[in-house]
Subunit: 218 residues, 2 copies
Amino acid sequence: MNSLTEENYLKALYNIGIDKGEVSVKELSENLGTKMPTVNSMIKKLADKKLVHYESYKPVTLTEKGKKEAGLIIRKHRLTEMFLVDKMNIGWEDVHDIAEQIEHIKSQIFFDKMDELLDFPSVDPHGSPIPDKQGKMIWKEYNKLSDCKVGDTVKLAAVINTSSDFLKYLNARDMRLGMKIKIKGIEQFDKTMEVSVGKRPSEMLSNVVSERLLVENL
Amino acid sequence: MNSLTEENYLKALYNIGIDKGEVSVKELSENLGTKMPTVNSMIKKLADKKLVHYESYKPVTLTEKGKKEAGLIIRKHRLTEMFLVDKMNIGWEDVHDIAEQIEHIKSQIFFDKMDELLDFPSVDPHGSPIPDKQGKMIWKEYNKLSDCKVGDTVKLAAVINTSSDFLKYLNARDMRLGMKIKIKGIEQFDKTMEVSVGKRPSEMLSNVVSERLLVENL
DNA sequence: TATATAAGTTAGGCGTATCTAACAAATTAA
DNA sequence: TTAATTTGTTAGATACGCCTAACTTATATA
């Protein structure tokens, strides 16, 4: 069994390494808010447990075993987020911190019940995929809204960078997953987009925002 | 803020000392499964934090502050148990271990939502009172079934010693809180009771069982 | 390519929560 | 009331997860 700390390292390794596959000690250190020497020694411990591949002065990669365990923790995290939003009416901007704690609960039955009550969801409230019971996670083919062209009509599928502040920004503008977005114009200079969201006529989205929104083509 | 370990000590002190008011190092040690020297040093720490009254070689008592904090942890525990049973359909024999973990979650909103969704319950699934938001807990005037006389008709109000095995025993006999129990006879030798539960005609309950059942007079 | 900078590592220390072994006080029994 | 037993305490060690300071390797730059 892994400690709470080990679980957090695995999760961070999975999340940070999602694209490149490898993670530097520096990145991990910054992501966890833990100093490099601490991270260094923890990585050795994870390597002893065959959860990561590690060689001195090289970036770390998760082993298959590590990937699976990380995936299962993320599964519990996202299942929990979905439960908190759907079954407990907690705002999507508040669920991350709670799920961060509940994901470490040791109880098969608890998470199985959540899964069942939610009717086996495949995504969390922010549109991120929920890994399956084998810890396998598959991202659908989404595009950033910022990469879309004028005239495109898309559906808001997920949000990147699920900081509470960003989600509150979206709440204030009544923007939710599943909404249709029409791109009416793009200002070349700063990439501000003029869009029509749902049935509303027109509003402006800065590039900072449009880069954080993942959309699905319609 | 108290650590998870400190919270467990407070909770144990509250639960063990419920009648006598004071708790010996030995009792605490056995209850927590932690050796006496460890308990001894932890008590000193709690005393420094003004959570317990402590003098060498004397039993420990909770301060008002300690009582309140313990009460609030027990509140979270019991609210959680109720939520797990009522809203997640988890059996009452399984909820204790899960609640034991969830009670340490740091999130006001999470427990407030539970409370609200449960419509502000006053007892947990085992009939134990849920402390209020000030950590105050009041036990109703229940009697042990074993103290009742032949001819009494009572209602099953709570179970003492909520071990999973005992609860499974009750499940197997379809005995639930709220059921009416008529005492039809008591065998003097071993205090075995002949009772009628609900609409069922007659069954036997050993003293071991009847001592663990709290009832309310009708 | 030599050197300055960034990233990674080692050594040694700290606080928490735990333990065992040894000793002291309090309680019980002879 | 003395001795035996039980309970409580002190001392010293361990594992974990964290830190700073100092050093090493790798990378970037002049």
